[in-house]
Symmetry: D2
């Protein structure tokens, strides 16, 4: 695997510009895993000043997509088939980090799980996700 | 319950302006259910020209929030505790509709399920969600 | 589709005898849906006298399997890829009913949702599930 | 925390005898985690000779219950509110192991995740779950 975060972010800007502009980036990756960040944006919070659930979903979904790319290459047509999010505690006051790890890459489906935390506080997950992507034939 | 979609949309613009501006609206509601729309935006699609998974999550999450408000009033601090999305088929070519129905409103948690389809094609769900919100004490 | 509940129950006894003996049965079915029952068994309750979560999962999983058979015929090697259960209220005092409806049957995956209630009280769901089965090639 | 697997298994036999007799046991535990086993039983397999999904759900649910007890003591009335299972590959040929880790223990809800594998092959998860229990007031 020769992918770099830089390549994934270039691809993201190209294929998914609205998401890229909203502050999502790949920050690190390796065989079977990827880390992504959402840059804190005080204008995009939910009541209470919390990072919204959909922002956390977006980061989880994206981190898992990136993790799959480390196994099958950049494949924009890999699409989520299911995703479950558990929201554990208020997410606030900093950049959001999501780290996806693949649990299985099959021929048709790739499964993984994603931990989310506020940068600098990795010990206290703010959310946790698991899901699967369908891999194009 | 005297809530109207107009009131919920005013609240949305106030409490969650980025989401309101991105084209999400309450369109209908009744005791224990609510319908919401995302206005099709060709600049916000994912590779393939599909409506992205996070957009569907956002609409599902929002429709469920609105449905809960029909039971407990507008309560911005009701927060999602978990949400599962199943993505069934490509969502494309029109406004996205989400209809949430509550399955249980308890003292601490409210559960519901959400059907999503492209406006005009309600027979073919594009996604399906289920989840729960924690209700503030 | 010529399947009958009787045929499915015969198959269940043959393929899955421990489950059949534990009191699970198909009770009704039609194109794209199936209903199954678990016969109340006071010796198999959890603390509080409630029907256990795993019993509800088993019934949901089975009802969805049966619903898929109404579309593709009896196919024992269809296996669950994911299932989410929401437990809404205590399940007690009667037979458990599960009704699965397919939301999508694709070439590789079949998705559906399942309502569970105590027989005679269909208005008050005790649990709700959604999930997918992988269909053998 | 002074809990031992022995105490949990005694409790299981007392409170949940059918489950105990079906071969589920706590095998290890520590602050915030627990491991449980299901003893392989060739008479309880699904078509294909695989360990059935409901058996995996049961072990996941139980391991998470035990993990919660390491934080709040044995509390039979802690009940599952939601659980998502991802089934990754066929589970066969040995005892099933489930290891639950808590991700958050709140006042009202405790969340955790559960890895499942065949004894001796921990590197290849057969299933993965995440869920929450409601803690009695």
């Amino acid at each position: 695997m020769d992918l770099t975060p830089y390549q994934l972010n270039e691809y993201l800007f190209d294929a998914f510009p609205a998401t890229a502009k909203a502050g999502y980036r790949c920050t690190d990756l390796g065989e079977g895993w990827a880390e992504a960040h959402w840059t804190y944006d005080a204008s995009a919070l939910r009541p209470g000043g919390y990072i919204p659930g959909p922002t956390m979903f977006t980061l989880a979904d994206l981190a898992l997509w990136f993790a799959i790319f480390t196994k099958i290459g950049i494949e924009g047509m890999a699409v989520t088939t299911d995703m479950t999010m558990h929201f554990l505690r208020p997410a606030m006051g900093g950049n959001l980090v999501g780290r996806a790890e693949l649990t299985k890459v099959g021929r048709r489906l790739a499964h993984g799980k994603i931990d989310l935390w506020i940068d600098g506080d990795a010990e206290r997950l703010v959310a946790f996700g698991s899901g699967a992507y369908a891999i194009p034939a």
